[in-house]
């Protein structure tokens, strides 16, 4: 007993600040260097890739005809023509996909968040997870086997859009779901307390509150599908000239143009490849910036 009391007299931890032992300090330093290095390492391919694309693609996209002409009648070795036919295809195919996928995706998300308790909601949640893991080539094969091989339609830009719908849906649903869940329940309850029916509450209160997030999510989904190459390889033929008709005929898109020019080893072909790659990155970049602007602008207006 006395011994215990004696021990209480002494300070339990004598020096308040012990310097960390060299071993631990070295380990800490090594870890710091490693994780910082990992981050820097990841920047290498990003900057390398962007630099390459900008450097090699810049001469092409600054040429006079790039944004206003197609490749109709342009010989493989000729430095001429442009990508406006492919630009049209990329944008239109993605927009049609968005027109189909966005209403459906938002309705599914509403079902999951506002009504979803039953078995259907559980199955849907599971399948959205499945769909988000479906490789784009499998989505393309599916549209091929239903739309072209079973229903007998021709290859067309519309078929591509259908495959893109499958790829957009999980992104739109997941994002909308998340945004709807962020809407505080107090808003819903206040609306119910005023006697507003549930559907009107959703349409007039919940959706507008979540709108900026939903729109920017849609734009990000759009950006994602614009660069998809697998569906266009399987579902539509390449065309060197413009085709405005999405229901029939071949239609170019930027990824398809890159893929078909890959077989052209001449300098002109190389220039077109990198030019188209840079154009694609610019288009996607514009959509990204738009998403950020929408997010900031609408979010500020709301608060």
């Amino acid at each position: 007993m006395t011994a215990d009391i004696d021990s209480l007299e002494r300070p339990s931890a004598s020096p308040t600040f012990i310097t960390i032992s060299p071993g631990r300090r070295v380990k800490d330093l090594v870890a710091r260097i490693l994780v910082t290095g990992a981050f820097l390492l990841a920047l290498v391919p990003l900057l390398w890739l962007l630099w390459t694309v900008v450097k090699r693609g810049f001469p092409a996209i600054t040429s006079a005809a790039w944004w206003t002409h197609s490749l109709q009648g342009v010989l493989p070795e000729q430095f001429a023509g442009g990508v406006y036919h492919a630009l049209y295809g990329t944008i239109v195919q993605a927009l049609i996909a968005a027109v189909l996928a966005v209403p459906l995706g938002i309705m599914v998300a509403i079902h999951l968040v506002e009504y979803g308790l039953g078995r259907l909601a559980r199955v849907t949640t599971f399948l959205v997870d499945v769909l988000s893991g479906v490789p784009s080539i499998v989505a393309a094969l599916f549209v091929f086997s239903v739309w072209i091989s079973t229903l007998g339609f021709q290859q067309s830009a519309l078929a591509v859009s259908l495959a893109l719908v499958l790829l957009m849906l999980p992104v739109v649903i997941r994002n909308t779901e998340e945004m709807l869940r962020l809407v505080p329940d107090e808003l819903r309850e206040a609306s119910y307390a005023l006697g507003v029916p549930k559907w009107k509450t959703i349409v007039r209160i919940v959706l507008p509150t979540a709108l900026s997030g939903i729109i920017s999510g849609v734009l990000l989904a759009l950006a994602r599908v614009m660069g998809e190459t697998a569906p266009v390889l399987v579902l539509v033929g390449y065309s060197r000239s413009i085709n405005f008709d999405v229901f029939q005929g071949n239609m170019a898109s930027l990824p398809l143009l890159i893929y078909s020019e890959l077989t052209n080893p001449l300098p002109a072909g190389q220039q077109r490849i990198w030019g188209a790659a840079l154009t694609l990155i610019i288009v996607i970049g514009v959509v990204y910036v738009l998403a950020a602007v929408v997010n900031r602008f609408l979010a500020r207006k709301r608060s």
Binding site: I20, F39, T229, I258, L280
Partner: protein, 351 residues
């Protein structure tokens, strides 16, 4: 009265109805005589609106369910006749010859080997880096810059896969070929680095494809692990700090154990992406006449790139079915990997 049934089933007592409903402000005050009637009508209309809207949203969900069910079903329907007409063993044959519809000989053995090898190699490269980045972003990076730095990594996910493919074969491959040659020369006794079935020059090997795939799946793995690490309970971290832990010890004792299941789930998600990646691999890998023998310096096709490479010739039903069969296997493979990822993630949440 639009629907008499709606009226008779009205559970709201008449007294309450008489209060003039819940009068939305912009509506004119109803005539006291038909006030009750009006409100009832409005209420039944309101209920109809609710029913319609609920049905609509359920229908959207159902559409999705049916669509995904059809994916599996249709791929199977289109694949079965070709599988029946297959003259080679579907699982063990290294051939993929669909030129003669009367004598289809196709098997997925090589596709499977190349797909799994390239994806596994990519995962091996990407996961440690992704964990490092996630730790850096959550624990080391200056707080103000953390979001910006995270955005930079996410930017990698915005680059289209065909651009990755271009860069991979035209820029990266020549740069890393010396590494491949060195590995092959000095570690060639190890099966993974043995001389493969394509030439090393030009770099159209699984090695190059794996490096590019690693870059491509890095952002998704980083994003998921980052989110998990960020949720480490502050109490855990502060407890470790109170015990005098260094920054690294905090990470090792709190963040990593807390995020273990999340990290594994993220890796599986990345694996799912890598398995299904199409165009980048198609551009990079060089085709080879000889079967693969588990070397990183082999060429060949993955499931996805094989299908994409033959897409232009999808006309006759039977040969197309062979590719659809391959697509179905890929579908099942990615489904399984994603299911495992989800199961691990959910178990982590439950714990």
């Amino acid at each position: 009265m639009d629907s008499p049934s709606g009226h008779s089933n009205d559970p709201v007592p008449a007294a309450e109805r008489g209060r003039g409903g819940v009068g939305l402000v912009d509506e004119p005050a109803p005539n006291p005589d038909d006030q009750g009637k009006n409100t009832a009508r409005r209420r039944s209309a309101r209920r109809r609106g609710d029913v319609v809207f609920a049905r609509l949203s359920a229908a959207a969900g159902l559409t999705l369910v049916v669509a995904i069910g059809l994916i599996g079903l249709f791929l199977l329907i289109k694949a079965i006749p070709s599988l029946a007409a297959d003259h080679a063993n579907f699982f063990t044959s290294t051939q993929f010859d669909t030129n003669d519809p009367k004598n289809l000989r196709f098997g997925i053995r090589d596709l499977l080997v190349v797909t799994v090898l390239s994806s596994a190699f990519a995962l091996l490269l990407a996961v440690p880096v992704a964990i490092g980045i996630a730790i850096y972003l959550t624990r080391y990076a200056p707080r103000r810059l953390s979001r910006l730095f995270g955005g930079l990594i996410d930017l990698l996910a915005a680059v289209p896969s065909i651009v990755f493919g271009l860069w991979g074969i035209l820029v990266l491959a020549p740069a890393i070929t010396p590494v491949a040659v060195w590995l092959n020369r000095y570690l060639g006794w190890f099966p993974l680095f043995a001389t493969g079935n394509v030439s090393l020059t030009g770099g159209g090997t699984i090695f190059t494809a794996g490096v590019v795939l690693a870059v491509m799946i890095l952002p998704i793995i980083t994003a998921v692990t980052r989110e998990v690490y960020r949720q480490t309970p502050v109490a855990h971290i502060e407890a470790a700090q109170a015990l005098g832990a260094t920054q690294w010890e905090v990470v090792r004792m709190t963040v990593l154990p807390f995020g273990r299941s999340g990290t594994v789930a993220a890796a599986m998600l990345g694996l799912g992406r890598a398995l299904g990646e199409t165009v980048a691999v198609l551009i990079i890998l060089r085709s080879s006449a000889k079967p693969s023998h588990f070397s990183l310096f082999d060429g060949g096709y993955t499931f996805a790139s094989k299908i994409a490479s033959a897409a232009a010739e999808f006309s006759a039903a039977l040969p197309t079915g062979a590719y659809i069969a391959a697509g179905f296997v890929l579908f099942v493979l990615t489904f399984l990997v994603n299911a495992v990822a989800r199961a691990i993630a959910n178990r982590g949440v439950a714990r």
